[in-house]
């Protein structure tokens, strides 16, 4: 079974790309990874279609976790998941975790072959309400 994929969604393309760079350098390339950031006009924001494309690029039969930064990134990610065909929709989860640290932690967990739920749990251990 392939490793779970990781998608990074930020309002800023620089943040998203930088977080992806950290994942690649720290975790390696055994995890499918994609990032997206900014709105179609080149400003800060997120774009549903671009998120769908990022999910496609990071696609794994084991599933995909999405790390988001602020409000709209999460709602647009949920909308992107809704646009997927039903068979893939259930394999994509949005993590409630800080985007940079969450992406590195999720990818580290995923690189060991962990299942989708375990990858999300690891990322969410970082949030204030997560398990210590």
């Amino acid at each position: 079974m392939a490793n779970v994929g990781v998608v990074i969604v930020s309002h800023s393309p620089k943040v998203a790309e930088g977080a992806a760079d950290m994942v690649r350098q720290m975790v390696g390339d055994s995890v499918p990874l994609a990032w997206t950031g900014g709105n179609p006009d080149g400003g800060l924001g997120t774009d549903v279609a671009a998120i769908v494309t990022a999910i496609d690029r990071a696609w794994s039969e084991a599933g995909v976790v999405i790390l988001v930064d602020l409000g709209g990134a999460e709602t647009n990610s949920e909308m992107a998941i809704d646009l997927l065909e039903p068979a893939r929709r259930g394999k994509v989860l949005v993590c409630e975790a800080p985007v940079v640290e969450g992406a590195v932690m999720a990818a580290t967990e995923a690189s060991g072959g962990a299942a989708l739920d375990a990858v999300r749990r690891t990322a969410e251990e970082l949030s204030p309400t997560g398990a210590a």
Binding site: M26, V27, M105, S111, T122, E125
Partner: protein, 104 residues
Amino acid sequence: MLKTSLTGSALITNDVGLHARPSVKLTQLAKRFGAHIEFALDAAGPWVDAKSPVKVMRFKAAKGETLHFRAYGPDAAVALAAILALVERGFAVDGEASPQPPNG
């Protein structure tokens, strides 16, 4: 676990200690084995699960400190040897010339 676990220790020699990148490498290596692997700064614990990315990342250990490991399971011996070797070579993985850049 204490009765059947194998133990070992290794001195941290790289400048940044068990920092961000070394933490990821330790976790990734531990996950390759079926054995339960824990580590601590003191041979009496408290012990941390080496396969938990978040717990390993939160663990602070500097150059000059000794990491104690204990492992149990069918492949505990080979797992322990591999992990001690990783610490002893400054967390450098195969193909890496130097352990980490200064801010690693």
